[in-house]
Symmetry: C7
């Protein structure tokens, strides 16, 4: 079973701590608006602009992304906890 996000939303699966460390990213543990890290598993068709045209997404499935710790909403699909958020809430893509 899959969720197709609407418009400019993406679905993100949080990476486990060990995966983050192996990526070389250490996320500071104390403050309230520190970013978190995950993998994009679904992207919407794109944001509908004021003129009605659909704007293509910048993110693709498989992108490793960082995002605000409290961005998005949680949903459990087939026993897996996922996050639904707008592309705009994603801060950047982890490369290399």
């Amino acid at each position: 079973m899959k969720i197709r996000p609407l418009h400019d939303r993406v679905i993100v699966k949080r990476l486990e701590a060990e995966e983050k460390t192996s990526s070389g990213i250490v996320l500071p543990g104390s403050a309230t608006e520190k970013p978190d890290m995950g993998e994009v598993i679904a992207v919407g068709a794109g944001k509908i602009q004021e003129n009605g045209a659909v704007r293509a997404m910048s993110l693709s499935v498989g992108d490793k992304v960082i995002f605000g710790k409290y961005s998005g909403q949680t949903v459990k699909v087939d026993g897996e906890e996922l996050l639904v958020m707008r592309e705009e809430d994603v801060m950047g893509v982890v490369e290399g």
Copy 2:
């Protein structure tokens, strides 16, 4: 009797717990902004854009959707409790 939603609104019927589970979606029960699940039973004609054109809806009748637990407004029609919300408040469509 039916309700035709205005503009970019949709009418959604919440799915019962058993239906959600059979879909493979388990909705966490404790937090305040967790998404809920339902079926679209009516869609508006589309959002009226700033330039006056009507933008077609992305959702169709029959779509199974997830949305914020407190999205929309409740109305009882022919003894059935329904939700009226804007398409924008729908997070995604459950597929397969």
Copy 3:
């Protein structure tokens, strides 16, 4: 005596409880933002868009509409209590 609503406003007369029930709509009585039901008795000429053009109204006189319980402002005309609200505040049209 009549009131011609300005721009994108409509004038709505609340339906009595018995009329609502005969329509098959039962409005839940406890919560604070549950919708109410009424009949449109006057519509404005349309919303003036940013580009100056007037956008036709979606609602017509005679439409039975549902709207938020606290939408609009009350005015008494010829002893009758009416509501003035923007078309945008109307959630949907009751059909059939």
Copy 4:
């Protein structure tokens, strides 16, 4: 002496209670956002749109209008208390 309202403002003279009653409008006396009634005695040249064009006013001098009780600002001209408000704050025109 006259005041020429700027842009999309109008100047309104509140009607006395007897005038309102003869119009068949009874304004409820208790709540905080009930509309009031008056006559338009001056209108601005029109709202300046984002594209710089001036949008003609919907209201004309002589229109009897209803508006929110606390809309506009009071000014006394030649001993007469007047209200200056934006056309947008006028809810409708009383006809017939």
Copy 5:
């Protein structure tokens, strides 16, 4: 020495009480958002619109204007107390 207001700002010199009275305007003295009266002594080049074009000002030097009592900011130039405000904050022009 002069101040050239930027964009859509105007510089206004408050009229003394006697000048206001001779104009036939009596400004009520008690409430908090009653308008005040003054003379425009400088106007900006115009508001820069979203499309980059400059929109000509509606007000001219010499206009007697009414404005909210607490509109604008005070500056003393050559011993004279002046107000700098946006044209939008001016409610109307006193004529005749």
Copy 6:
């Protein structure tokens, strides 16, 4: 060392009290939103409009400007305290 302000920002050096007085401007000392005076020492390339075009600045280096007392942010460059603010926060240019 210099700072090149980004987009529609300017860098302003506050004028000393004696300079202000010699300009004929006396700034009242008590209230909270009284304007202050300074000299523009750097201007950005211009505001980037919604359509992507860059809008030329109205201010030039050397302009003596007045601005809200608490406008902008302070930075010390080569021992000199400067203000970085948006052109929009500048109220006017002192001439003559």
Copy 7:
């Protein structure tokens, strides 16, 4: 490992105190919204405008920038603490 910032975001590495001093910039230590200084190490592809076009960034990798002390969000990459912020939050570029 690198982070590619999304849209109009940049990644900034704060400069150490000694680097700032050698640049001739002394940042005042007491107030709450004083700017800080850093070096841009990555820039996004550009802001997506309302019309869907991508607007090129004004900043480049290597730019020394000043920004509000609390701008952006902190992330640790390969043991290095970085800031992710929007270009709009950058006040200016330090030159020379």
